[in-house]
């Protein structure tokens, strides 16, 4: 009586999302109301927020990959035990990382703010995942769809860039400030690209599943998109570093490559939606809705990303809240919408649970509250960023004066964040209960039966 391991990851992911939102709200209010929630100061709430949100993204993507391999490709995992060990290592590492943050033990590097020694179990868990993945798909014959390439590439590049982000442990890197900053943000930029590979691969899989068109993920356009995304992952990270005095070629290369990836991705979704019949759209109503929302956010984020990748614009926007708006638009608008779409598809299919009309209304209300809040959340950040950039460059005001000027936008942003938290709670509440109930009750064999019945 074994539980489906993919659903265990989805369950952990949804919990991470809720906790990430909680710490994000706490941090936002601490930012604008000093003294708020002093028990856990801002320098602890920020890494808690960041780590939980990253956990949500990678856990839900990993859960989907385990599940889809097992049920849709009908390829049994190379080792289920290895996947269980993966989940345990991830869970124990997460608990230790949280304890370190709460006790004020830091490594102090962006994204990975925990002590460096905890990178070892994180690396091992990803290595096990990668090993299991490649041994499993090695059994698959015939043409591989593009998402199998994307998932494999995402895993390999995660391992590479995660290791690269710890090169600072060597004095050669650590003792040269500019080299250290350059390598740190090379790794961080490519790291985001590597989990985006997992997320965009998931989006393509869900699109294929909803449409029932197996050719879409094998088309030339899909592979061109993949290779452009890969080029962006590899060389497009230097927009973080335009103002750092690195060697100039690093900046020019990044500028030349920048942002073609999202354009092609949007085109792909647009093509997919045009050819979709209303019956399948109705059958997969909730996953479809979240996927379409991600499409809208891709266009909005693409516009912003193209602007801030121009060095002459970047010099005004770098280090301002516009960068945060871009990051939030990507993490919530694109990644979270895609991953919620995937999670809802899996939960509906694997548990056999169908949401009542009332529950659907709750999720629907959450969907709208989330998207409207996110729009204003990003808008207030952009307005704060424009104001800050202008005041820094043109008026040359001090930090304190600038903060006084932009504070109304930041207070509005904090309340929009509260709206976002509320919306995503409404979206995740019933799915989370459904998975929890299922994991307590049902064996994995029923999942396979449900999957066969649904396909």
């Amino acid at each position: 009586m074994k539980k489906e391991i993919g659903l265990v990851f989805i369950f952990l992911a949804l919990i991470a999302l809720v906790l990430g939102l909680f710490w994000g709200c706490a941090g936002a209010f601490q930012f604008v109301f000093p003294g708020f929630f002093d028990a856990v100061p801002f320098y602890k709430t920020r890494p808690l927020h960041v780590s939980f949100v990253i956990s949500w993204i990678v856990l839900s993507a990993i859960g989907g990959i385990y599940y889809y391999l097992n049920t849709h490709f009908r390829i049994p995992l190379f080792s289920r035990r290895m996947a269980v060990v993966h989940a345990w290592i991830f869970g124990i590492s997460a608990a230790l990382i949280c304890a370190c943050y709460l006790y004020g033990k830091f490594g102090g590097r962006e994204y990975w703010e925990f002590p460096a020694v905890l990178a070892i179990p994180v690396f091992i868990s990803w290595f096990l995942f990668g090993f299991n993945y490649f041994k499993t798909i090695a059994k698959k014959t015939g043409t591989w769809p593009v998402y199998l390439w994307m998932w494999g590439t995402g895993i390999c590049f995660f391992l590479f860039t995660f290791s690269e982000s710890y090169l600072w442990l060597f004095p050669y890197f650590r003792n040269n400030i500019v080299r250290d900053l350059t390598v740190q943000w090379k790794a961080a930029g490519a790291l985001v690209g590597s989990w985006n590979m997992l997320v965009y691969g998931t989006a393509l899989f869900v699109m294929e599943k909803i449409k029932g068109d197996k050719q879409m993920a094998r088309s030339k356009l899909a592979f061109l998109m993949f290779f452009l995304g890969l080029a962006n992952l590899m060389f497009g990270w230097a927009h973080h570093l335009y103002i750092v005095p690195t060697a100039p070629w690093i900046r020019y290369l990044s500028y030349a490559i920048s942002m073609s990836e999202l354009l092609i991705f949007a085109k792909l979704i647009w093509n997919w939606r045009k050819g979709l019949g209303s019956i399948r759209r109705g059958f997969y109503f909730l996953p479809y809705r979240f996927l379409i929302a991600s499409d809208v956010w891709i266009f909005l984020n693409l516009t912003l990303a193209l602007f801030i990748s121009i060095p002459a614009v970047n010099v005004f926007t770098h280090g301002t809240h516009i960068t945060v708006a871009h990051a939030m638009g990507s993490a919530i608008g694109i990644n979270t919408m895609i991953l919620l779409s995937s999670a809802l598809l899996i939960i509906g299919e694997a548990t056999g649970y169908s949401f009542s009309e009332r529950q659907k209304k709750t999720i629907n209300a959450g969907f709208w509250i989330t998207n409207i809040s996110l729009f204003f959340f990003c808008l207030f950040l952009i307005l704060a960023g424009i104001e800050k950039g202008r005041l820094v460059i043109e008026n040359k005001l001090s930090f304190q004066d600038i903060m006084l000027h932009i504070n109304p936008w930041l207070i509005s942003f904090a309340f929009a964040g509260l709206g976002l938290f509320t919306g995503l709670l409404l979206v995740t509440f019933h799915p989370l209960l459904a998975v929890a109930h299922y994991l307590r009750k049902k064996p994995a064999t029923v999942i396979l039966e449900n999957s066969i019945a649904n396909s």
Partner: protein
């Protein structure tokens, strides 16, 4: 798209990426700032900067948190300087916690910030916009 073309593009990109990575690791900064700038005290300061997660609130070259100011040039900024930064580090403020640092630790952090200050300018206020959308700035010597 035939498999051999997919493989050729994929491995070609991987090779270019490895070459690019090696070039980045070996390249020095634009301003010819060498590792000799980091004294032992500054190296200790850099580790303290990380151990106290200063990046959660502060930026270097616009990279990091938004709660406090960018510290790249806090040492050389008019009206600021070592004693100004030192008193913030030592006692904290309404927003910044007092980390109860010893005098040696405060000196180490100041030594690190002095080294950072010598590498360049952030934010960049004096620049020329080029026809291709890039900017031209003077590097700090």
């Amino acid at each position: 798209m035939p498999l051999h073309i997919k493989r050729f593009i994929f491995w070609g990109l991987v090779m270019l990426f490895l070459l690019d990575s090696a070039a980045v690791y070996l390249s020095d900064s634009q301003g010819k700032v060498s590792s000799t700038l980091l004294t032992q005290s500054a190296r200790d300061g850099k580790l303290l900067f990380q151990e106290h997660n200063c990046t959660a609130c502060h930026q270097l070259y616009g990279l990091g948190g938004y709660m406090g100011p960018d510290l790249t040039n806090v040492i050389s900024q008019p009206g600021k300087g070592e004693s100004y930064a030192g008193s913030f580090i030592k006692y904290g403020t309404a927003r910044m916690p007092d980390f109860h640092l010893t005098d040696t630790e405060v000196d180490a952090l100041l030594a690190y910030l002095k080294s950072v200050d010598k590498t360049g300018n952030s934010p960049i206020r004096d620049f020329d916009i080029q026809y291709d959308g890039t900017i031209r700035t003077a590097s700090k010597e």
